[in-house]
Symmetry: C2
Subunit: 77 residues, 2 copies
DNA sequence: ATGTGACTCTAAGTCCGTC
DNA sequence: GGACGGACTTAGAGTCACA
């Protein structure tokens, strides 16, 4: 569940930032296909991975987590 | 670096909550020794682990991450 | 530009125990 | 009550070829 939500949030943030998976991957020193895995909810990132991606998404890591919290609550309704 | 900071934050939060490593572990469905590893900065948790521990620490996951962000900035001085 | 399968390798996380 | 170690299992990290 958490992975799915995180993946959706990540995808939304990335698209809102107007950046491709590839650019995000390059900026974060991650692999393009790994970003794909995350967005599809097939991986649960460590907080280290979260901190790597945050700058490119122009969000603080805590802001990203806060969005995930909100979505988790929404889906609980 | 991130692990060290996270470990410090975790330990502080836990002690402020007045809970032992063991209680935190039981409540979070994690292992007692793993909490110890985290507090000593020897492991980087996944966000799933973060979400598991947060309720017992009486903080939102995003709040915990926010504290980590602050500490990271302080240490950067 | 992205999804996906098929990996390998490393780290997350458990369970046993002692000090 | 917590540090620490060994041995372990599982899952994330990280990569590649191809559709």
């Amino acid at each position: 569940m958490l992975e799915k939500i995180f993946g959706q949030v990540l995808k939304n943030l990335r698209e809102n930032t107007g950046v491709t998976q590839e650019i995000l991957a390059l900026n974060s020193e991650l692999d393009r296909t790994y970003i794909s895995l995350l967005e599809r909810g097939l991986r649960t990132p460590t907080i280290a991975t979260l901190f790597k991606m945050a700058p490119t998404l122009k969000k603080m890591p805590s802001e990203i987590i806060a969005i995930v919290e909100q979505k988790l609550n929404e889906d609980r309704v």
